[in-house]
């Protein structure tokens, strides 16, 4: 199959490219970032998905399937910019897919869609609304992109749309929200809170996308690997030191003393769990994960051992 991947030059996109090539697919990438040392067999277009030239790629290549990974998820990019990229990009993907006969579109979303709140249930199911959004407006564009992608299910009935809400990734690339949060020697937590975190190995993340391309499940699906684990266990198993701080102190200390920077709204995500029920995806695709929680944490620790404090 010819598979077009907007966002291919990201860390996970590169891993995906290799897996798709192994499976004998033709891989076409679109990304604003360069993909240096792209494996031969990858046709790379260094351009913005929202630009005219991207449509030309669709027209010429006529892909069978599109895996849309070109969403900005990290929070350092200004909100307004992210809005434009995430919503404009998603719109372009679906419009071009409809115009040029794409059979299957996979939207790679995030499980943070559900938000973290004191009264939200463990193991969210797909039909829940995104109630946590009020406490974390910085995530609004990702939620909107997720819902917009879901609306393709009725707007473009000829395209099989799979909206995937993926849990955090951990693994040797050290890419992703949780991985970056764990990077330092000391990891701040909020005193008195130890939420469950749901994560999967990067390789399993990529495999889930490959499985989705094969099975073409129509609808919205949570995607997870092993069961969630409390943050304190994640910190100790990756060889870090847990630094529990009282809530108010926590906000003040962020970005200092070697602690990571985080927006205010993210604090609820360190207080309360976001975990998902991924059984519908498993039923639709027979997906199984390869790395359990222990192996996933170990692979992160081996790639990113605890940094030694500067003297």
């Amino acid at each position: 199959m010819r598979i077009l991947v907007p966002g291919l030059a990201g860390r996970l996109g590169r891993m995906l490219a290799e897996r798709l090539l192994q499976k004998g697919h033709d891989v076409i990438g679109i990304d604003r970032r360069p993909f240096r040392d792209a494996p031969s067999g990858v046709e790379m277009h260094e351009l913005d998905i929202r630009k005219r030239a991207a449509e030309d790629v669709f027209r010429r290549v006529r892909p069978h399937a599109v895996i849309h990974m070109a969403t900005v998820t990290h929070l350092l990019v200004e909100s307004e910019d992210r809005y434009r990229i995430n919503l404009g990009g998603t719109r372009a993907v679906f419009e071009h897919s409809a115009a040029y006969g794409v059979e299957h579109v996979v939207f790679v979303g995030r499980h943070t869609y559900y938000g973290a709140a004191a009264d939200s249930p463990l193991f969210h199911v797909e039909d829940e609304p995104p109630v946590g959004i009020s406490s974390f407006p910085q995530l609004a564009d990702l939620v909107a992109a997720d819902l917009y992608a879901g609306s393709a299910l009725w707007r473009h009935p000829n395209i099989v749309t799979s909206v995937l809400r993926m849990v955090y990734t951990l693994g040797p690339t050290g890419h992703g929200t949780l991985a970056k949060f764990l990077r330092g020697a000391r990891v701040p937590t909020i005193l008195g809170y130890d939420p469950l975190f749901h994560f999967m190995h990067e390789q399993d993340f990529v495999d889930a996308l490959v499985v989705a391309v094969d099975a073409r499940p129509r609808g919205v699906f949570n995607v997870a690997g092993p069961r969630p684990v409390p943050l304190s266990v994640i910190i100790s198993e990756t060889g870090r030191t847990n630094v529990p701080l009282p809530g108010p102190l926590f906000s003040a200390a962020l970005g200092r003393f070697g602690l990571p920077r985080l927006p205010r709204g993210a604090l609820d995500h360190i207080r309360y769990p976001v975990t998902v029920d991924a059984s519908a995806f498993v039923r639709a695709t027979n997906y199984t994960y390869a790395f359990d929680e222990k192996a996933t944490l170990r692979s992160y620790r081996e790639a990113f051992p605890r940094p030694i404090a500067a003297a």
Binding site: A118, G192, Y193, D194, P195, P228, P230
Partner: protein
Amino acid sequence: MRLPIDPEVRERVERLELPWNDFGLDPYGVSKNYLGVYFTALRFFYRTYFSVESYGIDNVPKRGRVMLVGNHSGGFALDGIMVTGSMFFDMEPPRLVHAMAEKFLARLPFASGISSRLGHLTGLPAHAERLLADERMLMVFPEGSRGTAKLFRERYTLVQFGTGFMRLAMKMKTPIVPFAFLGGGEAVPTIANAVTLGKLLGLPYIPVTPWLVAFPLPAKLEVYYSEPMMFEGTGAEEDEVVARHVEAVKDRIARLIDIGRRRRKGEIVPLPTARRSQRSLEPEGRAR
């Protein structure tokens, strides 16, 4: 920091039939370690301080989904805590009781984390259904916080029952084991409830005893379990149908309370609902 865990407790935690992972955690984040510390602390209160007696424990299914439904007795969660002890110390094999934690708990630091590590998730319908679908044991007090607010003179009464538990049991095809809890009113004789003070601390109210704080006296505590009751249906029935079923459970609990009261006065009263009446006249867990 590792707190000491009693060897008997450790052995019983190992025998809980739960899907532990390598970290000693179940999928909901229930922790072997937390359970060990909790039951080690509870052991003294359960066995010695209150010397809790469990009657009719054979009525409780050893495996599979089940709801324990009982009365509130005592100004705070003393009753619930002792029922978790009863299922852990007196059942063979021991079972983990999942209580549904009050929603205000989820906002409190420490309380939320600790209660969820012990299996007491926030009281949401989604949690209750998921736990039952997973063949767990759920404990429900349909009186809600109205029930824990009972004063000393009201200690053997029942206040209004909510109906949510019945709809849940019907929807999830779950047997209900009614139980009566006796003695909580003597252990924590509430003379008043300080509502304003409670609000300030983020609690619904704070029970006030003659010695002000709600530290419990070593009163004799007893739990009477009755035979399981099964209610057919989907849980979406009309209110009056559900209310009838709720009354049946409430009546059963009221009868158990009455029997327990008379026994506390020294009358010899057999337990009418026990399957093996001969054995269940003897308090469980004392035999060993």
